[in-house]
């Protein structure tokens, strides 16, 4: 339903020269949550099952917390969404990707991390939730001047 509503809104937005901010869906309560638990609750996730089928490819050490590359692939059949939670950030939910017909459950993005922390990825498939984590250490490079 949400998908349909968004598709309709998207079509409407495309008709306008400039899409209106109020038309876009953005989950304020989930993105405004200050703990990983509240963030997951905000996107309707409770007790996700650990899964090795979610592959998080990221360097173990990030030279700069402002740009931390993360590549995510879900090998769980029927994956319809992937959420990225940065457990120690002030607002832990970083992104949520919904994949429609034709899209592969894969994304690569760069995020900001305040400090060394776990990155949690939650995938939704067939009405269930699965999760995996990976620790990334944040350090400083260069002259430090």
């Amino acid at each position: 339903m949400n998908r349909l509503r968004r598709a309709l809104l998207g079509a409407l937005a495309a008709l306008l020269a400039k899409p209106l901010a109020s038309l876009a869906a953005w989950n304020e309560s989930a993105f405004g949550a200050k703990t990983p638990q509240d963030a997951l609750k905000g996107i309707g996730v409770a007790n996700p099952a650990p899964s090795k089928e979610i592959v998080i490819d990221a360097p173990q050490i990030a030279e700069n917390g402002a740009v931390v590359p993360i590549e995510i692939t879900s090998n769980i059949p029927g994956t319809s969404s992937i959420a990225v939670v940065l457990e120690k950030n002030p607002f832990p939910l970083a992104a949520k990707f919904d994949f429609g017909e034709g899209a592969l459950p894969y994304v690569k993005l760069n995020v900001k991390m305040a400090e060394t922390a776990d990155v949690r990825v939650v995938a939704a498939a067939g009405g269930r939730h699965y999760s995996a984590t990976r620790e990334i250490k944040v350090t400083i490079g260069g002259c430090g001047g």
Binding site: T139, I140, G141, C143, G144, G145
Partner: protein, 196 residues
């Protein structure tokens, strides 16, 4: 005379006319300008800088010895214990600011130590231009001789190695006597993370 023999040791390439030290200084006088606390006086070389430049940092041993003796005379050793506060020393070692045209002239300067040396094994972001100093005090002890050596080396590294790449942190007015004592503590104090 010594300079002359130096020049003979490092002959100029015969094909191209290389600029003389004077030529290079003139270019710098023309192309650089003072900014913030970095005045144009810094473009002019002192004797030691001139010799090290000419010799590509490898002066003949005899000349090096004389330069080192000259530099040793610049070190003002304080009376009493040279061990300060290693916690303050760690902050000074981490701080890479000071003496740049972007730094406020009155502010306390850092020592930039981690830029070139490993000190506390807890810090993974350290440079390797200088030797690792992890465990320095544990290896050398913290008696008066070790204190004096470390204090002097930080105050004027050129007194120990004429063309060292390490700045003369006391002689140049970068660090105060108290700051250098704090760094001595960072290196020698048995409680310092450097010696864990």
């Amino acid at each position: 005379m010594k300079l002359l023999s130096l020049l003979l040791l490092f002959p100029l390439f015969p094909v191209l006319a290389q600029p003389t030290p004077k030529d290079v200084e003139q270019v710098m006088q023309r192309d650089f300008h003072a900014r913030g606390q970095a005045g144009m006086d810094r473009v002019v070389q002192d004797g030691l800088q001139r010799v090290c430049t000419e010799a590509h940092d490898q002066p003949p041993a005899e000349l090096a010895k004389r330069l080192e003796a000259d530099q040793m005379k610049t070190i003002a050793f304080p009376q009493g214990s040279l061990i300060g506060d290693w916690k303050s020393g760690e902050r000074i070692a981490q701080n890479g600011r000071g003496m740049q045209w972007t730094d406020a002239p009155g502010a306390a300067n850092g020592g930039s130590c981690y830029n070139c040396h490993q000190l506390s094994p807890k810090e993974i972001s350290f440079g390797t231009i200088g030797p690792s100093l992890a465990g320095f005090g544990a290896k050398r002890g913290s008696g008066p001789d070790a204190q004096r050596y470390v204090y002097g080396k930080i105050y004027n590294a050129k007194a120990y190695n004429a063309c060292s790449q390490m700045p003369r942190l006391g002689y140049s007015g970068t660090l105060t006597a108290q700051q250098i004592k704090d760094l001595v503590a960072l290196l020698l104090d048995p409680g310092s993370p450097v010696n864990q």
